[in-house]
């Protein structure tokens, strides 16, 4: 092809360019005129035709709701299910006289003042063209009566809907949370996340607990139905249907029977228990007492129930296992011991005096031991077994906070564990920087870290504050010789359509950098806790496997110098909290437990028996004597075999 390689004539080049500009412009104008012609064709010539079509547009797209995924325990027992029921719904936009209609409907079915109050609340939160439920869970009879009279009430519909149900009520409240009606805040959030389309026609959304965290899995994907409608907007005939994709099912690591055993053992007492499988991080039991009935929240809680729950001094709505912060008391000592050994502040066989009190050089302040006579000379394992305070005061003093903080922090204390629940508290593993920040608005004397501050930290008092979940997690890490897993409630996610299973991989997050031989010394101490001479020796009676534990007593109020702690003289909510951490079997741990019973005094007295019974049930299937025949998860005292519930299949 012959082309001039150089355009020498600028004039020619310029005019060629201008010519192309004119051609391009002409082309664009022509195409826009084509569009204009098309609009004239559609909007003027064909106007009548399309106007009629729009008028009679009788085909509408109706979203078809997916079924929410089920939540099951590790053995397939269903913990959150759906059941179908009829609701009576009103679309405000299609209503001429709302009050008259409600009154007339009241003649057909019983509409309680509570139904009406709830209806008005929903009404104020929804758009005019969205149906609003007036009465939920109609009986077959009521539904039939309304259907027979439907012609009298345009805009009134009886709909079959799926309702969520938590059969184990209080037992699962702090794990599952609940779903509730989509409110304006949820709506806003969905819009921001660009998920509104998938929630068209949906009424409920996960609000708390696993229901909220796994909302994206559980909800599923909307389907659509194209229906022909009559003039009143009622569906006459279904033309085409894109089926919804149902939500995915969750299978938990939790064993509902173990959960019930733990829950019932608390009785009326307040507290929390978390049991973790140290080999996977799976949460086997997760109790926060008191609980509440999550079913109350699904369709809007009434104000009396809400008030009684919200204002209860026992705070049943607070998830103590992830939000409750308590000083760990002596259950801190095993972790402190690991730090001390690793730092070289003390050798595994070194003996130290453990007298009745400890004083700092040049000070008369006495840090007292819980045993006023002291424990003689002890090594580190013995110090754990007898829970010597003065031994750990001294160790903490020798180490200083700057060495304690990073080493104890390895066990995840003072940090969120990353469990699959919302609202986890991080707690406090004290350090100089922390104190500086915490008291930033106070005088320098308050903000400063004093060397003496470290002493009480050594025995788990002072500024220490952790969640029961953190304590269980730290115990699991210790039991697994430093292997760290992220604690998780959900173990498997089953895809609704395909049945494909996604496992929540138990992947070790990391392995701690402690010298491997150190764990045995600390574990020896914890085993000795449950042997004669140990603080929980009584608890070991009848053990058929090996168990390691540590008692703890967390002060709620400071006792004055020279005064004695007298439980009877203190109001209940100022009494000490009772702690116990444990794992079993010692050789190959399958369960790690942390229990706290609020205001229940010495750890061995209240918390330890719960831990023992839970561990018994988990490892041998033995139901505690006082619960025999009272378990709702086990109608008859059943052996610990796997129970595959038929209702698990959808």
């Amino acid at each position: 092809m012959h082309r001039p390689t150089r355009l020498k004539d600028a004039q020619a080049e310029e005019s060629q360019f201008q010519l192309r500009l004119v051609i391009a412009y002409g082309f664009m104008v022509l195409m826009l005129l084509t569009l204009a012609a098309r609009f004239i064709w559609l909007q003027v010539m064909q106007y009548e035709h399309f106007a009629t079509l729009a008028q009679n547009n009788s085909i509408s797209l109706v979203p078809v709701q997916p079924n929410r995924g089920l939540i099951m325990d590790r053995n397939g027992v269903v913990l959150a299910q759906n059941h179908a029921a009829y609701t009576l719904e009103i679309t405000p936009a299609k209503m001429a006289d709302m009050e008259a209609t409600i009154k007339a409907l009241g003649g057909l079915v019983d509409i309680t003042p509570r139904d009406e109050r709830r209806f008005r609340k929903f009404l104020s939160e929804s758009k005019d063209f969205e149906p609003v439920p007036l009465k939920l869970r109609l009986s077959e009879d009521e539904a039939a009566r309304i259907a027979a009279n439907a012609w009298r009430f345009p805009g009134v519909e009886v709909k079959a809907r799926l309702f969520r149900d938590y059969p184990y009520k209080e037992l699962t409240s702090h794990v599952l949370g609940y779903i509730g009606r989509i409110n304006q805040r949820d709506q806003q959030k969905l819009e921001e996340d660009d998920k509104l389309a998938n929630y068209r026609g949906a009424t409920h959304i996960g609000k708390l607990g696993l229901e909220a965290v796994y909302e994206a899995e559980l909800h599923g994907t909307n389907g659509f139905e194209e229906v022909e409608t009559d003039a009143g907007g009622r569906a006459v005939r279904s033309l085409r249907r894109t089926p919804p994709i149902h939500g995915n099912n969750l299978k938990l690591a939790l064993d509902i029977r173990l959960q019930e055993v733990a829950d019932k053992l608390f009785g009326q007492r307040r507290g929390a228990l978390v049991a973790i499988d140290p080999q996977t991080g799976g949460v086997l039991a997760f109790v926060s007492k008191p609980g509440f009935d999550p079913n109350l929240f699904i369709d809007g809680i009434d104000s009396t129930s809400w008030k009684s729950l919200n204002e209860d001094w026992q705070k049943p709505l607070v998830n103590r296992a992830v939000r409750g912060l308590y000083p760990p008391g002596s259950t801190f000592k095993p972790f402190m011991a690991m730090a001390a050994l690793q730092s070289g502040a003390i050798g595994p066989y070194d003996l130290r005096p453990a007298p009745g009190y400890f004083t700092l050089p040049g000070s008369s302040h006495q840090f007292r031991d819980s045993n006023p006579r002291g424990n003689g000379m002890v090594n580190i394992s013995k110090a754990i077994a007898v829970s010597s305070d003065t031994f750990f005061y001294r160790v903490a003093w020798d180490m200083g906070i700057d060495r304690i903080h990073p080493l104890v922090g390895q066990f995840g204390l003072g940090q969120k564990t990353g469990i699959d629940l919302d609202g986890e508290a991080s707690g406090v593993l004290p350090s100089k920087e922390w104190k500086e920040k915490r008291f930033a608005r106070f005088k320098p004397e308050v903000r400063r870290w004093y060397p003496a501050d470290v002493v009480s930290v050594g025995i788990g008092q002072g500024f220490n504050a952790y969640t029961p979940l953190q304590m269980a997690n730290a115990t699991a890490i210790l039991a697994a010789d430093g292997k760290v897993f992220k604690p998780h409630l959900v173990q498997e996610i089953t895809q609704a359509g395909s049945g494909k299973i996604r496992l929540v991989e138990p992947r070790p997050v990391r392995t701690l950098a402690f010298r491997p031989e150190l764990y045995q010394h600390v574990k020896d101490g914890m085993v000795a806790v449950m042997r004669p001479g140990g603080t929980a020796a009584r608890l070991a009676a009848g053990l058929t496997y090996t168990m390691a534990g540590k008692t703890g007593t967390a002060q709620v109020v400071q006792i004055k110098q020279g005064a004695k702690y007298n439980a009877a003289a203190l109001a209940e909510q100022y009494r000490d909290h009772s702690w116990f951490i444990a794992f079993a079997p010692v050789e190959a741990p399958r369960i790690a437990i942390a229990v706290i019973v609020e205001n229940a005094g010495f750890g061995a007295a209240s918390a330890a028996p719960i831990a023992r019974a839970v561990s018994d049930f988990a490892l041998t299937g033995k139901v505690p004597a006082e619960l025999q025949g009272k378990m709702m998860t086990m109608p008859q005292p059943a052996p610990a075999g796997d129970k595959h519930d038929a209702s698990a299949a959808r």
């Binding site: 201008q18 500009l21 609009f39 909007q43 106007a51 547009n57 085409r240």
Partner: protein, 364 residues
């Protein structure tokens, strides 16, 4: 002394903006706010977001309009290279949504590199021609074709036919203004038509269905034809004067898909009628006419090539989107400039128009 100072500040802000373009854009902006409010079922949240996008768009437009084209030009090669690298990144690590892989997660933000290419590619080709202005020969055209084909193929592979056509189109417009021989253009067109059967076989199923739907939407009125039919009913039933703002029955009874984004023009048409459509067409034609004038007066080869390509691309967006909604082009995901809801498209268009303004500001 107050008034002169305020005036000086105003002048400083207004100076780089092109008065004519800004007037047309302001008109489009007013219409877009009205229609978005209606299409989103009166969501103030969406209006707030759109205001934020508009402020962002004005800011980048101002920055681009202030920058000298000769300076910006030097960024073309690195920008283009980064765009190609990101497209390769999408191919390797991209996020797949609805079967096509278009997004790249950079940790903080998710980006759609093909969006960058819409501007980076014509800049690059224009830069290339400018660089070899005095020695242009047919080899340079070959290189330019390669510059266009590489990102085009990468986007085609995602697959995103609509965007690939837009990107390659922008590149082709540069070639056209650079004086690509008519013989080649016409030859290429013939070759393209001849290869259509082959292309047909390469198309994905859903793409073929879209074309078939266009030819006869009534074939499957409840299936693939549904959206097109509903959107044509919306436009047609709008009539000469429209049903009035907030009164579109097609819109508010949920018959129109994607009604705040790709199909927003159907909502507009239903509520404002033929009169509204002609007004909007006139506003877009105003932008295009002004763009052509800037192109005609541009001083450098780079300036005229880029200005021409930007203007033609702008026209293509308008035409493809309106044509799709009006049922004369297949359904492809092309937003209507400054009308459709969405931050990325608004801002990247603002960058392009800002560059157009700066080319216009550079006087002979």
């Amino acid at each position: 002394m107050q008034a002169p100072l305020a005036k000086r500040i105003w002048d400083a802000i207004a100076a780089p903006f092109d008065g004519w373009l800004m007037a047309f854009l302001a008109g489009i902006f007013v219409m877009s706010m009205l229609v978005l409010f209606s299409a989103s079922n009166q969501s103030w949240h969406k209006i707030d977001n759109k205001l934020v996008y508009t402020i962002m768009a004005l800011t980048v437009m101002w920055i681009m309009a202030n920058a000298r084209p000769q300076t910006v030009m030097n960024f073309a090669p690195p920008l283009y290279a980064a765009g190609v690298l990101l497209l390769v990144g999408v191919e390797l690590f991209g996020i797949t949504v609805n079967g096509s892989t278009r997004w790249l997660n950079l940790g903080i933000v998710r980006i759609q590199p093909s969006e960058i290419m819409k501007t980076a590619l014509p800049m690059m080709v224009a830069w290339y021609f400018q660089k070899y202005e005095s020695t242009l020969n047919w080899r340079h055209y070959l290189v330019a074709v390669a510059l266009i084909a590489v990102p085009g193929a990468l986007v085609l592979k995602q697959p995103d036919l609509g965007t690939a056509v837009l990107i390659m189109g922008a590149g082709f417009f540069v070639l056209f203004f650079a004086g690509l021989s008519w013989k080649i253009i016409i030859g290429g067109l013939v070759a393209f038509l001849a290869s259509l059967p082959v292309v047909w076989n390469l198309l994905h199923d859903y793409q073929r269905r879209r074309v078939l739907t266009l030819i006869d939407p009534m074939q499957d009125p409840l299936g693939d034809g549904y959206h097109i039919i509903q959107s044509m009913i919306a436009i047609g039933s709008g009539g000469p004067w429209g049903k009035g703002w907030l009164n579109g029955s097609q819109t508010h009874l949920d018959y129109i898909p994607e009604r705040t984004t790709d199909f927003i023009f159907a909502v507009y048409s239903e509520e404002f009628g033929l009169a509204g459509n002609l007004l909007l067409l006139a506003l877009y034609l105003g932008v295009i006419t002004r763009g052509m004038l800037i192109t005609a007066r541009a001083q450098t080869l780079y300036g005229r090539l880029l200005a021409g390509a930007i203007t033609l691309s702008f026209f293509v967006y308008v035409f493809v989107n309106m044509g799709m909604v009006a049922g004369i082009l297949p359904v492809v995901g092309v937003p209507l400039p400054f009308m459709s809801y969405g931050g990325t498209a608004t801002v990247s268009l603002a960058v392009a128009l800002g560059m157009l303004m700066s080319i216009g500001n550079t006087k002979r």
